[in-house]
């Protein structure tokens, strides 16, 4: 039997406007970054971290001006005072106000973390990008060099540089600290960027750009780097706590910032010194701050990674 289509007049009616709009996408399309932000907002832990980071950053700027005490103002009449209504975090063994000192220490820690991460970012992206775009031989040589640099134990070099640039028992300047930290720490970033570049270089849109006459630099700048920003951002977020941790460790070993400048590391070190006589708040407060900073950046970094991972999209 022949299967004929039965025609009737209703099939030839004019399409209405509604029918035409049925295929239209009604909701506004969400761009990449707003979409990431939307998913990040759903991650409660990451939002707690982000909130803490914002609060700490603001307080590290204004916190030192809230009470009338200066960070190096000593008061021998009021040494080792536990927290009270005048000195909110108490005073240290030289009678200095810990509230001011802890916020200033937080400021220095955050500056060190952010600057170190920024420098790692710049060197890592440039080196990794160049290595990925270069010919295979050059790439191989550049990666070997990076590997040698990276296998030099990082904190050993930081410690050595602090020894060289600091005078007897006086600590190190912030510039040297940051320099020492970024000396080897840019390598993971470079390796990450190179891997991404190698992968994206082969993509269709890079080929399209190349066939339209785009130079290597143009492709790198316009097509490859924007597409690797996600993983890079995660890496940066996780580099910051690493640098802060390194500074705290150095400060604890007496190689951190130059006194009387406080850092969370040397504040903890001072706190440890008075702990045997039963004074706990002096180590507890800076320790809590370091832990909160580490916590915040780590959960934020994790949250970002999850938000950027397309496989986790629902």
């Amino acid at each position: 039997m022949e299967n004929k289509i039965k025609l009737n007049p209703s099939m030839f009616e004019k399409a209405t406007l509604e029918d035409r709009n049925a295929e239209k996408i009604k909701r506004p399309s969400i761009k990449y970054w707003p979409d990431v932000w939307r998913r990040l907002k759903q991650n409660k832990l990451a939002m707690v971290g982000l909130t803490l980071i914002v609060i700490m950053s603001v307080m590290s700027i204004v916190g030192t001006h809230i009470n009338e005490f200066d960070y190096k103002e000593q008061n021998y009449g009021l040494i080792n005072q536990p927290p009270d209504s005048v000195h909110w975090f108490g005073t240290d063994e030289l009678g200095r106000d810990l509230f001011t000192r802890v916020w200033l220490g937080t400021r220095y820690s955050l500056i060190i973390g952010v600057l170190a991460a920024a420098i790692d970012f710049v060197i890592g992206v440039v080196y990794g990008g160049l290595s990925g775009m270069a010919s295979r031989r050059v790439d191989s040589i550049m990666m070997r060099i990076a590997e040698v640099i990276y296998s030099i134990p990082y904190l050993l070099i930081v410690i050595l540089l602090s020894v060289v640039f600091s005078q007897q028992g006086s600590g190190t300047s912030m510039f040297v600290l940051i320099l020492a930290m970024t000396l080897t720490d840019w390598v993971p970033m470079a390796i990450l960027v190179r891997g991404q570049v190698l992968q994206l270089k082969e993509s269709e849109y890079s080929l399209a750009s190349e066939s339209l006459g785009g130079t290597r630099g143009w492709i790198l700048k316009k097509h490859i780097i924007p597409n690797t920003l996600g993983p890079i951002l995660v890496n940066v977020t996780l580099t910051i706590p690493r640098a802060i941790f390194a500074e705290a460790t150095l400060g604890f070993l007496g190689l951190g910032l130059q006194p009387p400048s406080p850092s969370l590391g040397n504040l903890s070190n001072d706190g440890l010194a008075v702990m045997p006589v039963g004074i706990f708040y002096q180590i507890f407060i800076p320790a809590l701050f370091i832990s909160l900073i580490m916590f915040s950046f780590n959960v934020l970094g994790d949250g970002l990674r999850d938000a950027l991972d397309p496989r986790l999209r629902k």
Partner: protein, 299 residues
């Protein structure tokens, strides 16, 4: 590769230490010129820098790190011999704790996702990552050692002395491993080969141990190298807190004493140990994952 790294460390260390302004004997007070000249001669500081470098390189190759500038009785080698076994023991114990409990907690968390074991191990992991080891150590001393009579507060002697330091040192790598293990385990459990294994009728424990854990543990093994170098630096701090006479405490002391030959010797020794361990980790990785070859291009 490893040899180039070690050479780079020796060179950097040597020139950094000789770039330090001032003379290393400044602390001894004013001395007659003859004494100063003799001291210079004893440590070979009167020769040109390049010649000193060659001599030092040769000595290090022979395993001789020279005399300490501050200690009259012990050479740098003596100190390393005395301190290293102590540090190595703490480090090895910490590594063992981390390797055993980290992946185990992570795997448990993944198997019981969003249930109590998951929350428990993830809270522990977040604590371990957020709280630096020097604070962890202090807390341990304050709340465990002071209340439990058979655990000493610090010092060195019996196995009981090693308990808290190893634990404090292990916390951070343990936490990292647990988190990494959890996410890689979750990924593996969603793979088709797990379903295949299950549908073949293998017992649950065999699926988990032979199929899931074996594949999930690869990323954990790959961070072993970083873990080891973190343990090494962590040991400086831990040994300071617990008053342990290990290499780490010699190193920190040599820094505050400005004992340049000791700083150089310990740094290079650390670098050699570290590079050797990293090489071993690479070999182990190759053994576990046959897809990786030693001559792999890039990383």
């Amino acid at each position: 590769m490893s040899i180039i790294t070690i050479w780079a460390v020796i060179t950097i260390t040597f020139f950094l230490m000789h770039a330090v302004p001032g003379n290393p004997f400044a602390k001894e007070g004013k001395m007659p010129k003859v004494v100063y000249d003799n001291l210079q001669k004893k440590y070979g500081l009167d020769k040109p820098l390049r010649e000193q470098y060659v001599i030092y390189l040769k000595n290090v190759l022979k395993g001789d790190f020279g005399d300490s500038m501050k200690s009259r009785v012990e050479t740098v080698n003596d100190m390393i011999e005395r301190g290293f076994p102590v540090s190595a023991r703490i480090g090895a114990q910490a590594l063992l704790i981390a390797i055993v409990f980290g992946p185990a907690l992570g795997a448990l968390a993944a198997l019981y996702q969003n249930k109590f074991p998951d929350y428990f191990s993830m809270v522990l992991a977040i604590l371990g990552i957020s709280v630096p080891s020097f604070i962890m150590g202090t807390i341990f001393i304050q709340f465990i050692a002071k209340n439990v009579s058979w655990i000493p507060i610090g010092g060195w002697g019996t196995w009981r002395h090693t308990l808290l330091p190893s634990l404090a040192l292990a916390m951070m790598p343990l936490a990292h491993m647990a988190r990494l293990m959890r996410s890689s385990m979750l990924e593996v459990l969603g793979q088709d080969y797990i379903k295949t294994a299950q549908s073949k009728g293998i017992t649950k424990s065999a699926v988990i141990l032979k199929h899931a854990v074996r594949n999930a543990i690869l990323p954990v093994v790959s961070i072993l190298g970083t873990t080891i170098s973190n343990l090494l630096v962590g040991s400086f701090v831990i040994e300071k807190i617990f008053g342990i006479p290990g290499l780490g405490s010699f190193f920190t002391k040599s820094i505050s004493n400005r004992d340049y030959t000791l700083i150089m010797g310990t740094t290079i020794f650390y670098a050699i140990i570290l590079v050797a361990l990293l090489f071993t980790v690479d070999l182990a990785y190759m053994f576990i994952d046959p897809r990786i070859k030693l001559t792999q291009e890039g990383r």
